[in-house]
Amino acid sequence: MLNRTQEPVFKQIENIDFIKAEKYLLKNEIPVFIVNAGEQELVRIEFIFKNKAWELEKPLMPSITNAMLTEGTHSLSSAQIASKIDFYGAFFQTDYNHDRSSLNLFSLNKYLANTLPIIKEMLTGSIFPEKELKILLRNQNQKLKVGLEKNANIARRAFTSALFGDTLYGYANQLKDYDQVKRENLLAYYQKVYQPKNCSIIVSGKIEKSVLALLEDLFGNWEGFADKEDLKVDFKSSQEKLHYIEKPDALQSAIRIGIPFVNRKHPDFIGLQVLNTALGGYFGSRLMNNIREEKGYTYGIGSGIASLEKAGYFFIATEVGVDVTQNTLAEIEKEVNLLKTELIGDGELSLIKNYLMGSLLGSLENAFSHADKFKNLYFFGLDYGYYEKYIHTIKNITPQQLKDLANQYWDYNSFYKIIVGKM
């Protein structure tokens, strides 16, 4: 007779194989990293540039420059770029984050010789036409207007601004900023940042030899100048810990709580990720169990650690019924403090360890995800030894070490607390 109360025997995950990126240099020394895997005849090529400048007077310059790459070059109009790329079933994507700006191409291998030259055009011959710029600014402005109606967005903006002030990391775009973007500033930023000396190329997918030859052919002769200047982010956090933005008609309050934190380069980072998992990093976390599964206050609550190049931050985020805003805050405080005063039980910790190992294994689904893992290392000056350490830490960290970390890094009173809604 089948015993359904008895769970099947299970195995621990011992080894995780990484498909390592292989490095090549083009003639002009642009580094190309190749992650070759998979059976689908397709490839992703990312051209990644470090952000080089940020000024409070021109806060949108880096992001708009990036978004405008698709909007016209010396020889191709915005419409022509779009129809060429679309015709070959390819996708491209501009991507801007706090540290980097990139232009990414997803293409079937068989059309790469047709699609990659368009990328070259965009990286070397963009002209930032006024008409397209006007349209883009107007549409982004409209999008922000909608975004500003969402309490969770308002909380996110107030949060980063409290943590990082008026810097690249903290500044929240204002509607008026869209009126002040000037074409010549974008051109200047483009000249400064989109340079071969500031470029890394990451290629992933099923990579044929011809890909490297094609890259060499198109980008190996790309000449430019090197701008040695490194961007500084000197932030001052707000004095006020509590930021309450009242929304009289709100049905839910958006809550965001946290502090500036260590990033991936710090030796404690991995241990803190384990600690964060216990608090709010997975579906079975303490915050989810208590605030969603026990009390039904919310559809979801979670916590995380974001790793930026020159800083990091720890955050807890949720949206709860307005009538339980206060209760939720009290429960969050309780859960943070419990991890500081009581040791995590062995059962819970072994579950978290297994969960994290499974989740690492599962996150290595295909060539793209292996390349993403590589980017986490490369841009933080780390090597694959980091993941060995990651696995070792997960397997060996003790309840006492986690409690010590909680005491060292978490002080609920010093956390910034943003509440948008009612309480």
Partner: protein, 411 residues
Amino acid sequence: MVKFEKFTLENGLRVLVHEDHTTPMAVLNILYDVGARDENPEQTGFAHLFEHLMFGGSVNIPSYDEPLQRVGGENNAFTSNDMTNYYITLPAVNLETAFWLESDRMLSLAFSEKSLEVQRNVVCEEFKQRYLNQPYGDVWLKLRPLVYKKHPYKWATIGKELSHIEDAKIEDVKAFFKKHYNPQNAIMVVGGAVNLAEVKKLAEKWFAPIDKGVKYERDLPQEPVQTEAVTETLRADVPSNAIYKVFKMPGRMEAGYAETDLMSDILSQGKSSRLYQNLVQQNPVFSQINAYNYGSLDTGMFVIEGKLLPGVDVAYADECIWKELEMLKTEPIFEDELTKVKNKYESTKEFGEMSLLDKAMNLAFYELFGDANLINTDIENYLKIATEDIQKQANNLFKKEAATTLYYLAN
């Protein structure tokens, strides 16, 4: 090309196996052939609430999530108007844990009052978070009943109103389970680093003992052809005016679906699409505009939705949309345009095959549509389409009297 094997247990459970040894992971996906369309009109939102309760413990296993996380697995689920789909990803070496968990909740739930009480609250918060506390969040709550007069697609999966969820009783939960959650009504897909013989053995062991239950015979009121245009105006605190225009379209497996699907790509996929080029770029009327379809199994919705730029007259914007639709009716699209959307369809399919979970889900969906092998052959329905087919379908669809339009205006 997605290779798979299929077998059926004696109790009627269909099992599809897709071996993919490029990954160390496995996926177990179970689709139940029940969605919001199968709900009692007085108890809407029930299929989705029920999905939440599937995680509240089963007859022999008090916690669903915990044992799964302990073996390194993750899970989630979603409910649509047509179906409810549950999936687990976990290290393939621990595949049996997924069989143990999924078979026990197909056998029977714990039906705990506490779980019902909490999940009623969670779903009410979800209702607020996604539908009420967002600009334009309630649009589908308003639009569905304008489009559908008879068919149960007239309510959204979250339900018509909060009270339907608040009033749910444990007896209702039990009855719903009995009616819909049995092997005959389910499709299981197992994929990843697994092999057919092992999956057969595990399926026999864990699922074969489950009683086949009574087959649910679906008999839904079908939506009549629309003969009169429906127009409604709504005002709310939103930052810009919006237009939502809906035409009824063929169901997922009906003639004309593929043509309609490609038509939405012609209109709005990518920046080279017609709506973007003509109404965002050349003649700026909208800040964003999209055309898409719901892929519903019964008569579906072809939707055009746009947010107007400040100062643009709503009636004029509406005319501009019609002009684009008329163009599809009167002139064949360019060969290049058709090739473009076909190429895009092909590459999207190829990119999708990089994800094990996507493959497993798609196998389940296609099996529900009638035949899992459509995952490999459906593309032929798209590739054979000619420009005149698109024109013909545009004439079938875009009739003035068949339009439902909602003007969602800023206060």
